[in-house]
């Protein structure tokens, strides 16, 4: 079991080493076989879990003369390719619409250019071999460093064939994505959410309004440059200025003041000392006792 538990950190390690110059020892064993003083430091730097440290120290005691032969890296089971009939079918029907599929943990991600999105989605929904009747989820992510800033993913599910597919598209700031409300009606709120939290507009959406944040909110909270506590000036705005100025529409046949007066009259005489002295009574202890009694 202990071999399994250290899998995730280990699988990451060779990857980070591969970015080093080729002169460095290519395998994990080679790296640990450095002079002994360095070994503990290295173990700390790589931020391995503590459980792995004794194992690394044990390997250091191996004879250093052993040639660091390139150990064939076992293929990561997470990266195994999975069969996806829908992707094969789509690539056969619309060969230039999608990019290379990416496989991870048994899931398929298919990059699609945003201008082919509606065409691809309509095909995936209507083709009997794909039959993605349901859009499960749609969401976006902000990558400020990338050329195309936003990445939007659509999770599709086919109930008939019990399969899933993720479509991924990218869009730059200020550009629109085509809406998919014509393909799956249920994407409506998901697109509104993406608009609300990331500020991506959807062309042709029937009612693109904010959904989770207030209608008059400034900024898009899920962007990476939006600070976690929000902007202080906005706090002020929502604490005082707007709330004080906000006007309430009278919905009843009586004005609010009249209604309030009516309520006061109704309870007049039942509230004892409170009606004559709405503020703090002069002698709180006795008055409190009276009020509780009446």
């Amino acid at each position: 079991m202990s071999a399994d538990e250290t899998k995730p950190p280990e699988s990451d390690k060779p990857q980070s080493e591969s970015s080093e110059p080729a002169a460095a020892a290519p395998t994990a064993a080679g790296e640990v076989a450095k002079p002994a003083p360095e070994a503990p430091k290295a173990a700390g730097e790589v931020t391995k879990p503590a459980a792995e440290a004794p194992k690394a120290a044990g390997e250091v005691t191996k004879p250093a003369a052993e040639p660091p032969k390139p150990k064939p890296k076992p293929p990561d089971p997470l990266l195994a390719k999975v069969a996806s009939p829908a992707v094969d079918r789509l690539q056969a029907a619309l060969p230039d619409a999608t990019g290379e599929p990416h496989y991870f943990a048994g899931e398929v991600t298919l990059p699609v250019e945003s201008d082919r999105l509606v065409e691809v989605c309509t095909f995936l929904r209507d083709d009997p071999a794909c039959a993605f009747e349901m859009l499960v989820d749609a969401t976006g992510t902000d990558f400020p460093e990338e050329e195309q800033r936003f990445r939007v993913v659509y999770h599709l599910a086919s109930l008939r064939h019990v399969q899933r597919l993720r479509l991924r598209t990218q869009v730059t700031e200020g550009e629109c994505l085509p809406t998919l409300t014509g393909v799956w009606e249920g994407i409506n709120w998901f697109e509104r959410e993406i608009f609300d939290l990331l500020g991506i507009s959807f062309e042709g959406h029937p009612s693109l309004a904010r959904i989770l944040m207030p209608d008059d909110w400034v900024g898009y909270p899920l962007r990476k440059d939006y600070p976690l506590p929000g902007y202080p000036e906005h706090h002020l705005r929502y604490r005082e200025a707007d709330v004080v100025r906000r006007r309430y529409v009278d919905i009843s046949w009586q004005s609010t003041g009249e209604r309030a007066a009516g309520i006061v009259n109704k309870y007049k005489g039942k509230m004892g000392a409170a009606e004559s002295a709405p503020h703090m009574p002069a002698t709180p202890v006795e008055d409190d006792g009276d009020e509780a009694g009446t």
Binding site: E5, P8, P9, P49, L159, R164
Partner: protein
């Protein structure tokens, strides 16, 4: 004589007893009939997805309880399942059994809360008290296991923190036995009750085609005749080792959803009973001991479980650190609530309450 009529717009909520939280509906009415509905959500938005981006994987778990506060165990399981899938972590068998027992008990508790409040909204007061009586017993069981009654944080990445306490299994067995009898009583009160039938039959119709188009999942979809249950379709955890049925009804109305949820409670009880017998007596509870998660850089995964309200999914993007680059919760209430407007079309104002109840909305779940 001709009366001039105008359409009227009124607010229902956000502080309305039948909206189960803070849901505001803008209703456009023609007399007593609903012409159009515009749900306004977001009153409980706490920015959990934004918060999650600044926290380690392990520290996000308590936040998931607070989204769907009626069924925190399911939210825990969905999130942790996603993290485990991203990291390729293994969960020991015994921990899986404990997780499934807790999640299924929580499904019963969630459905009991739904049944009580839904019936209360429609005027049946007594069943509310009965449902809370049994729900209390489940909460006691949870308290004995993890110390919490509502926000459990009961699981950890790649396992559970503790074994079941001594005597817990017997108490659980006793509860399930009692629950079966009590379930018969609920049925006696409601199933053939004339008022109940009048209030629920042919109210809030949503057929299978509409459900699929609107991304509606869970009991609402199954009450439209579609046998979609992720526990069967895409078995996670140990659901492929237990025997249970997926209740389906093709009534498409509020009554059909009542029948489906009632049957689901019995099926959950069946699953728990099997798990209590099949669970290995000994075995590890945690699959990994390290605290740091280092998933592969730039990968993304989506993991979904069958929650009490439908598909409860989590989408994660990793940047190679121990924090998620993006953590999106696909909560069932958010998607299901889109069906509110089509279901309310043409119903009476009093039946809007029935429609909200039958969707089993939890606003913390939709607003995040």
């Amino acid at each position: 004589m001709v009366f001039s009529t105008t359409e009227m717009e009124i607010n229902m909520g956000p502080q309305h007893p039948s909206t189960h939280g803070v849901l505001r509906l803008k209703l456009k009415l023609d007399g007593e009939r609903v012409v159009d509905t515009w749900p306004v959500i977001g009153y409980l938005h706490r920015g959990i997805e934004k918060l999650a981006e600044s926290k380690e994987f392990i520290k996000i778990t308590p936040y998931t309880d607070r989204m769907d506060y009626v069924c925190g165990m399911s939210a825990n399981l969905a999130y942790l399942g996603a993290v485990e899938k991203l990291c390729g972590a293994k969960v020991p068998e015994k921990a899986e059994y404990i997780r499934v027992i807790m999640v299924e008990l929580n499904r019963i508790a969630s459905h009991l809360l739904w049944l009580g409040t839904h019936a209360l909204d429609l005027g049946a007061m007594s069943i509310f008290l009965y449902c809370f009586r049994e729900r209390e017993m489940i909460l006691d069981l949870f308290e004995a296991y993890c110390g919490a009654r509502l926000t459990y944080n009961a699981f950890r990445i790649s396992g559970v923190p503790a074994d079941l306490p001594p005597g817990w299994t017997d108490e659980c067995q006793a509860f399930l036995e009692l629950f079966r009898q009590r379930h018969v009583e609920y049925q006696q009160i409601l199933t053939a009750n004339r008022i109940w039938l009048k209030r629920t039959k042919d109210v809030g119709i949503l057929n299978a085609k509409q459900c699929l188009a609107l991304s509606v999942t869970g009991p609402v979809l199954r009450a439209a005749g579609v046998a979609r249950d992720l526990r069967k379709d895409e078995p996670y955890s140990i659901y492929d080792q237990v025997d249970f049925d997926v209740p389906v009804n093709d009534g498409c109305d509020t009554y059909a959803r009542y029948v489906v949820r009632m049957e689901e409670m019995l099926q959950s009880a069946r699953i728990v009973e099997q798990c209590l017998v099949k669970m290995p007596a000994e075995g590890p509870l945690m699959g990994m001991k390290g605290r740091k998660m280092r998933p592969r850089k730039g990968e993304e995964i989506y993991f979904a479980i069958e929650g009490p309200r439908g598909e409860q999914g989590v989408y994660l993007i990793s940047d190679g650190t121990d924090r998620p680059y993006r953590c999106k919760f696909r909560n069932s209430t958010f998607a299901n609530m889109q069906a509110l407007a089509p279901m309310c079309k043409g119903v009476l104002v009093a039946d809007v309450v029935a429609v909200i109840g039958t969707l089993d909305v939890v606003l913390g779940d939709s607003d995040r």
